[in-house]
């Protein structure tokens, strides 16, 4: 069945009430009942929930074949927790595990092998890279991987579409009762936003830390009332990779040129006024927008009320200069943002549900004015791909991209027109991760195009003297430079399902096929 972004979704996937994507607001107003976890009461006074090893915790939680376990990705490429837990599960001879992670990255290459071995047969994630991406793309995973945005993941948990049997939550600090925080310790990651909902909805919750602190570890991101066991290990991650050194503004003239255009565009809209809100991706050009909005804000004498998202140094800098009232933080990308959430009183930790779940009673992104994000590919209908490479391989993360762009009044995609020989603006993108109706403006190094759905923005930009082109013209320009690419050839088999924020099916990813000239 063809969905609202023109993708053909195989009928065999449309069972058990699954529907194809029918527009961002299709399920607006839907009524549902949240599921509750199955909890083992702890009435008898108990001094500690410490157990001696991850293996012991797995045994006590009763992990068995076919269960679903969850992980978060606040430790990014420095994460050890998912590998430690999965290795114990594999060693115990348990199979058919479904991993429900907020994201999987380069750190999780060892799990790629477990997919081939049948230890892992299900995967639900907001990002997939490296060996895991290769394994899934090559059809090694028994069931199709389910890709969701950050908001979509929380929605699926809060609506009961995914039931977590055991949540394994790596925590930079925890007390013996399980109060856990993203702050402190040697593996400091600032916040634990992705894990908060897991702790509330999983039947069993295991906190894994490398820094045990005196009770109570307050205020906690993960509350002891939700935690079954606490394990202390040597290291939960590589601190250098968890909080990398401060994200610096790019020196690349092309990225700077595009970032400057983004700022000009923002300033040309009516939303750029005192009290506006803003989110930016961590890509070179998106991040650099922070630098270019600063002089425009000063010139107009306006302040940002709130900044949101994955936070990094440039946003913290604006907070500390007094140009932003507060930051609401669902992830920290560098050491400066980690430090800031500790010390700055108006830098707040929020849960991923608060951040961007489309089906709670209203998330932060719904009130967002601007978001600036990158793209791997964008088609002439403004649909964006951020999850598959142009060769078809799973290698990216929808993350909060579909959420922030759906919510923001003005969502800007910034990307070079071509990368190497690959056209970014093209006729047909490999996978739709963010529907075109969410995207308002495209900024490239060869010109700016506004989504024709947004005549109001076109008018504002024309009034501000910003020269515009069309996305078709940009695509033609790209093709004239690099040639028209051949369509990638896939096997028929669906290896991953890209869910829209509301759980409908936006697209499918098929098994890659070796290509011969």
């Amino acid at each position: 069945m063809i969905n609202a972004v023109g993708r053909n979704i195989p009928d065999e996937l449309l069972t058990n009430g699954r529907e194809v994507f029918q527009g961002n607001n299709y399920r607006d107003g839907q009524i549902y009942t949240k599921p509750g976890p199955t909890v083992k009461a702890q009435i008898k006074p108990q001094e500690s929930k410490l157990v001696e090893s991850i293996r012991e915790a797995i045994r006590l939680c009763g992990v068995k074949d076919g269960m679903t376990v969850s992980f978060h990705h606040h430790f990014r490429d420095g994460d050890y927790v998912a590998n430690l837990v999965m290795q114990e599960i594999a060693d115990l001879g348990i199979k058919d595990i479904t991993i429900a992670a907020s994201s999987m990255g380069a750190a999780h290459d060892p799990i790629g092998k477990m997919i081939e071995d049948g230890v892992v047969t299900g995967l639900q994630t907001s990002g997939i890279r490296g060996k895991m991406g290769e394994a899934v793309s090559n059809g090694k995973l028994k069931t199709p991987c389910i890709l969701r945005s950050h908001g979509g993941r929380v929605r699926a948990i809060e609506q009961g579409e995914v039931h977590i049997d055991v949540a394994f939550i790596g925590a930079p600090t925890a007390d013996e009762y399980g109060n856990a925080r993203g702050k402190g310790g040697k593996s400091d990651c600032g916040v634990l936003s992705y894990a908060m909902i897991d702790a509330k909805y999983a039947d069993k919750v295991v906190v894994i830390t490398d820094c045990l602190v005196p009770f109570p570890n307050f205020p906690p991101s993960i509350q002891a009332v939700d935690v079954d066991y606490v394990v202390v290990v040597e290291e939960i991650g590589n601190p250098q990779k968890i909080a990398s050194k401060a994200a610096r503004i790019t020196q690349d003239p092309r990225e700077l040129m595009m970032a400057k255009e983004c700022a000009r565009i923002m300033a040309a809209t009516p939303y750029f006024k005192d009290g506006f809100s803003f989110q930016t991706g961590v890509g070179g050009a998106s991040l650099a927008v922070n630098r270019f909005i600063e002089p425009l804000m000063r010139e107009r004498g306006i302040r940002m009320r709130w900044g949101i998202g994955g936070i990094s140094a440039p946003m913290v800098e604006l907070l500390e200069k007094g140009l932003i009232d507060c930051l609401v933080d669902a992830q920290d990308f560098d050491i400066d943002s980690v430090n800031s959430v500790h010390k700055n009183q108006t830098h707040y930790e929020i849960s991923t549900s608060q951040y961007c779940n489309p089906m709670n009673k209203g998330a932060f992104v719904n009130k967002l004015d601007f978001v600036v994000l990158a793209a791997l590919e964008i088609d002439t209908g403004f649909n964006v791909n951020v999850v598959t490479g142009s060769d078809g391989l799973l290698m990216g993360a929808p993350g909060g991209h579909p959420d922030a762009s759906a919510g923001a009044k003005c969502s800007i995609i910034v990307t070079p027109l071509v990368r190497g020989r690959i056209p970014t603006v093209c006729e047909r993108i490999v996978t739709v991760t963010t529907p075109g109706e969410s995207i308002d403006v495209l900024v490239t190094d060869y010109g700016i195009a506004v989504n024709p759905r947004r005549q109001d923005l076109i008018d504002h930009m024309s009034a501000a003297g910003i020269e515009l082109t069309t996305i078709e013209a940009l695509k033609d320009k790209a093709y004239s430079m690099v040639g028209v690419p051949d369509d990638i050839v896939f096997h028929d088999r669906v290896v991953a399902i890209m869910e829209a924020r509301d759980g409908t099916i936006l697209d499918v990813v098929r098994q890659i096929k070796n290509y011969e000239v």
């Binding site: 020196q251 003239p253 092309r254 190094d445 060869y446």
Partner: protein, 299 residues
């Protein structure tokens, strides 16, 4: 000659041997791109660079940026084949490195003419730019500037010049002050353009800005740059102020209107004006237009 006096605020060097740089060199807005066959290309890759250059000239749309080819020195076996590839590809300008005398310019001009005929481009009018690196060349700037109708301008190649002067780069610019002055005098006397030397420390953007301001104040037409990062700075420095622009606009308008009525000399805002003020005012407007400040149609 077509395009001889076009605006050349920035002349950006790009190795002709590096396809990743050549294919999009123009997007940063430099007025001229110098596709380099000389210093940026290793001795054993001179032939490969010519093939790349030829095909880049033939296929890449430089979106209005001028395409200058820096050939190898006339003391090398390469320069003639360099000119053949450049002219066959349709380059706008040939830049002669280490130009030492008027005879060098004449030899290049003769060869360009022959090659234009060979490739059936008799009206191509390929232009010439000369770069001086030695004290001897600097002292001969006057004869070099008048050696050919095709010569659009001259440049100082600071790196080598400093070496031959037993000095090195100083932030004050004292070490090349005399050379800059001589070149500017010669160029202005001959009515050709003059371009300031490169600034190689990409991390010292403030030093670069200071040197660019000095160049602008001395009267250079533009500056050679080695990275896209430097382009914006030069364009900012060379951009006229709004006041200068408005004054230039009024001047151009007044001189043209009076000329139509047969009036050669008149006063505007209490200042005596005649046709001699026209080129200067027009240049201010051209600069203003290139920097996006002037949107009118007088230039």
């Amino acid at each position: 000659m077509k395009g001889k006096n076009r605006l050349r605020r920035t002349l950006m060097f790009v190795s002709a041997q590096t396809p990743g740089l050549v294919k999009e060199a123009y997007i940063y807005g430099a007025d001229s791109i110098i596709l380099d066959l000389e210093d940026a290309v290793a001795e054993n890759q001179k032939d490969a660079a010519r093939f790349s250059l030829y095909h880049a000239l033939k296929t890449v749309d430089f979106m209005g940026a001028e395409r200058i080819v820096r050939i190898n020195g006339m003391d090398t076996p390469h320069w003639k084949e360099d000119i053949r590839a450049a002219v066959a590809g349709g380059a706008d300008v040939i830049r002669i490195p280490k130009c030492d005398s008027a005879a060098d310019v004449v030899a290049v001009e003769q060869y360009i003419k022959a090659v234009e005929l060979e490739f059936n481009r008799p009206d191509a009018g390929t232009l010439i730019m000369a770069a001086m690196e030695s004290p001897k060349a600097v002292l001969r700037a006057e004869e070099i500037c008048t050696a050919s109708e095709r010569l659009v301008g001259i440049a100082l190649s600071g790196g080598d010049f400093r070496k031959s002067m037993q000095t090195k780069y100083y932030p004050s610019g004292n070490e090349i002050l005399a050379a800059r002055g001589l070149l500017l005098l010669a160029a202005r006397a001959a009515g050709v353009q003059c371009y300031d030397t490169i600034f190689s420390d990409l991390n010292d953007m403030e030093g670069f800005r200071v040197e660019t301001v000095t160049g602008k104040e001395m009267g250079f037409d533009g500056k050679s740059v080695v990275s896209p990062r430097q382009i914006q700075v030069v364009h900012e420095v060379f951009a006229p102020s709004e006041k200068e622009m408005i004054e230039a606009e009024r001047t151009v308008r007044a001189i043209r209107e009076n000329a139509e009525r047969g009036i050669g000399i008149f006063t505007l805002d209490g200042k005596m004006l005649d046709v001699a003020f026209l080129p200067g005012a027009e240049r201010v407007l051209e600069l203003a237009k290139a920097s996006g400040l002037y949107k009118g149609d007088l230039v």
